[in-house]
Symmetry: C2
Subunit: 152 residues, 2 copies
DNA sequence: AGGCTGAGGTCGATGGCGTCCACGGACTGT
DNA sequence: ACAGTCCGTGGACGCCATCGACCTCAGCCT
């Protein structure tokens, strides 16, 4: 992980569909060299995936909620996690410090679906209680934070 | 937005670097047709961006925090928003229902940097108080939720 | 009914890109 | 000094992106 790798990561976080040729121009190497570096970043676990970022409303996922989960005393955290993993509406899952063991970000189409989701969560073995906050709007999300030095 | 568009969105949410030729094979159209459809999805605001998803620890952003913000009574929400937007560590910003007007997801390298961030937030005009929860680990994040019908 | 029009597709051509390979220079340890 | 390793370059070749021409079908106006 040198400065060039960091630049590549920044460039791809900004636009994952840049061609290797374009990346090469930006960092001042040849295309094959960039190809090899990016390949290593992928197989080395630095780059996990390339994803299109979609406006959720346009695909019928207009309701965003953040849900704190309090576990039962003596619950098996791994089991709870697996149960959460099986619920597609849960987009993100953080294991937290504090009374609430998990914080979930969920996306559904309607408030009625959110209600169903909350019921389902409360019924999940190991879950003691849930606390749901609704996001009225998403100002921005997953903004990539530049990490490379200014410029070679 | 027909079923093919939804499939394209799903495919690109799964892997943003798929070639048009490959997308075309998957949805059963020709490459130029797919090219045009994806172009329309982009310019129509459905696809906002393509981003590489990076393991944060590997680029020196090992600390994730979720921060609730209570505004001063009479604060100008837009001004507060602009102040937040200028802080690169804030990756996501949701405008919430409830006492806390905003929920922020921030990523920093160290606890010391988190402390500085919290101080900065508390000093921001219009911010009455902050409540920070630290994520001990991210189980998963931004998992794409399939939205297309099973398969043509 | 007939024909115009526009949307949205296919096909074919061409230039650029991805990707493989052979080669070369700098650093390192012996 | 020398050999090995790492990391890069340049060339070659086949696939892909992308443009233009054309086709087909649905809807609509006359």
């Amino acid at each position: 992980m040198d400065a060039i790798d960091l630049s590549l990561v920044d460039l791809l976080r900004g636009n994952a569909r840049l061609s290797y040729a374009e990346l090469a121009r930006q960092v001042g190497l040849s295309a094959p060299a960039v190809h090899e570096r990016v390949g290593k970043l992928e197989s080395g676990g630095v780059i996990r995936a390339y994803r299109a970022e979609v406006e959720p409303e346009t695909i019928g996922l207009g309701v965003t909620a953040l849900i704190g989960i309090v576990e039962d005393s003596g619950a098996d955290t791994d089991d709870v996690l697996e149960a959460f993993r099986a619920i597609p509406e849960i987009e993100s899952c953080y294991f937290m410090a504090g009374v609430e063991s998990f914080l979930l970000k969920a996306r559904v189409g309607t408030i009625a679906e959110l209600e169903q989701l909350i019921v389902r969560l409360n019924r999940t073995p190991g879950v003691n209680s849930t606390r749901t906050s609704i996001a009225l709007s998403t100002k921005w999300e997953n903004r990539p934070q530049a990490v490379a030095p200014p410029a070679a």
